[in-house]
Amino acid sequence: MDFALTTEQREIRELAMKFARNEMIPLSQSYDEAGKFPIDVFKKAWELGLVNTCIPLEFGGSGFKAVDGVIISEALAYGCMGMNTSFMANDLALLPIVLGGSNEQKKKFLTPFTQEFKIASFCLTEPSNGSDAGGIRTQIKDGGDHWVLNGEKMWITNAGYADLFVVYGTINPDLKHKGISAIVVDPKSPGIEVGKKEDKMGHRSSDTRGVRFNNVKVPKENMLGNPGEGWAIAMSTLDHSRPLVASSALGGAQRALDLSIQYAKERVQFGVPIAKHEAIQFMIAEMGMKVEAARLLTYKAAWLCDQGVRNTEVASYAKAFASDSCMQITTDAVQIYGGYGYSKEYPVEKLMRDAKLIQIYEGTSQIQRLVMARELLK
């Protein structure tokens, strides 16, 4: 057993942390307040190879393992959970192609992302189907020499800037899971309406919108796998993406811990720094314990991916534990900062707002527990 990172992984983390400190943290608060999409930061991160980490070497990617991907995403979320949501959404959208696409599809859709700065969106959730993803209503109909797409998607990250959509729909709603199919859609196709940017509580710099498809024609060769194989692709995508989402919560939690330690040593009450008070010490100890446990679960969930072992159960442990811990840790960080913590002058209130979303997207904390129980009781 070896818990150590390789020299190369330490260097990757070093670079990603340097990027987070120099390029993300200084902008994080103002972008959040203005709800400004971090396209400039995103592009810089792409130039350094910090995004699209899931693209395999043979299609122009850097050949990173899942563990490398979570190391990078943890560091970028340390810089800003909101910005990292935009970056991570690219991987989330490209993963179905990596996992379910043919070699031609991978070459056609993935390689351009390694040559030019491009943005992608994963379109699964609908206005009336969130946790119940099997109940998707968006229809994919056979139009002869093409597919015809009709329906509405909701909470689509990067939708206003996307160069590629991966859309989940059904060839027949009566077939339930067995009807679900995934297709790659050009966002410039006629019949696509992208809605207004949602005004969110946190992750305010990430671009979230509804997307409507009205008789959108999609080339036949854009379907990933066969019709009806979409559910399997979505599930294996989630096995890979949940460790990534967990790492985002981990990065945010680590930032809240570091800020809390720094503040507790500076803030003086009753004549001593508050770090000398046991009440604060216990909160900090609790934070440290949860960050470390979340890290071990997250890295293990990614490591299992790299071993080619089914990781559904551990990926759900990681996603639920890291995001629930991040919520607790960021809430406690605000508590340690006291009145200052509640003010936008200090960075911790944003962390608390950002943490909440990670308990919700990519499968709520409750859905994760459902997955765990199913795995444990089967």
Binding site: E8, I12, L15, F19, L48, G49, L50, F64
Partner: protein, 262 residues
């Protein structure tokens, strides 16, 4: 064109420094090492020259312990072609380091056209190595450069002097230049760069290999100490209008006699 860049590995700026028990140096066991920030400007300048002159070869040199090779690996990940490391204690003096660098350059067998370094290392702030090295090699040198132009064998550099004024120097290659902040914006090592750096060659020499012995040491460190703790600030109460003049005289007096700032 052969460009050599001398880099030093220094403790991260957030390091809590503790002197060793015998006072000969600082505890290094738990230090996180980084490339000296001024050296990053030197590496970047070399890479900028390489960008416009594909025949240029950039070699990074370092004298120090081999436990961590962070600085050299970073420079190669940024784009340097190869590296040479002279194994030595981290508390060598400027003279020995300069002599070791000279020896390492000769060992590579490449004739230097340009030698770049940071103007100073942020750990001991000695500001000596580039000038001593230039003297040993019999080459012209300019330090604290903030501007650089190369045309053939002619180099034009701008040097910062007090009061924000600039001096302009014209030199011919080979020469030694010590770089200051403002010269350029150092690039990040990209992730593909980090992957490629693993395969780049790093030569390793001992001090003996490059002709340096204990007898070359000009400075021996006897006592590293932490600076004394700052005394607490003084407070003056001028709320009583009648006493204000007296308080002002008192403050002015102390600024003259104690703080010695006026």
């Amino acid at each position: 064109m052969n460009i050599f860049v001398c880099v030093k590995q220094v403790p991260d700026t957030e390091t809590k420094v503790t002197p060793t028990s015998d006072g000969s140096f600082i505890e290094t066991s738990s230090i996180k090492w980084i490339m000296n920030p001024y050296d990053e400007f030197a590496v970047e300048q070399a890479l900028l020259i390489k960008q416009s002159n594909s025949a240029a070869n950039v070699t990074v040199l370092r004298v120090g312990s081999v436990k961590d090779t962070e600085a050299l690996r970073t420079a190669m990940a940024m784009g340097a072609d190869d590296a040479a490391l002279v194994e030595a204690a981290d508390n060598l003096d400027s003279y020995s380091i300069a002599k070791a660098l000279k020896g390492a350059i000769e060992k590579t067998g490449k004739k230097p056209d340009l030698i770049l370094a940071g103007k100073q290392a942020i750990d001991d702030d000695a500001l000596q190595v580039p000038q001593v090295l230039a003297e040993m090699l019999g080459l012209p040198s300019v330090s604290v450069i903030v501007g650089f132009e190369l045309a053939g064998n002619n180099v034009k550099v701008k040097r910062e002097v007090e009061g924000g004024a600039l001096e302009v120097y014209e030199l011919s290659t080979p020469c030694v230049l010590a770089c200051n902040k403002g010269l350029n914006t150092p690039r990040y090592a990209s992730l593909p760069g980090i992957m490629k750096a693993k395969k780049k060659p790093m030569a390793q020499y001992s001090l003996g290999d490059v002709g340096v012995s204990e007898a070359d040491r000009r400075v021996k460190y006897s006592q590293f100490r932490l600076p004394p703790e700052k005394p607490p600030g003084k407070k003056f109460d001028a709320s009583d209008a009648a006493k204000q003049k007296e308080v002002v005289n008192q403050v002015v007096g102390l600024l003259r006699t104690e703080a010695k700032v006026i």
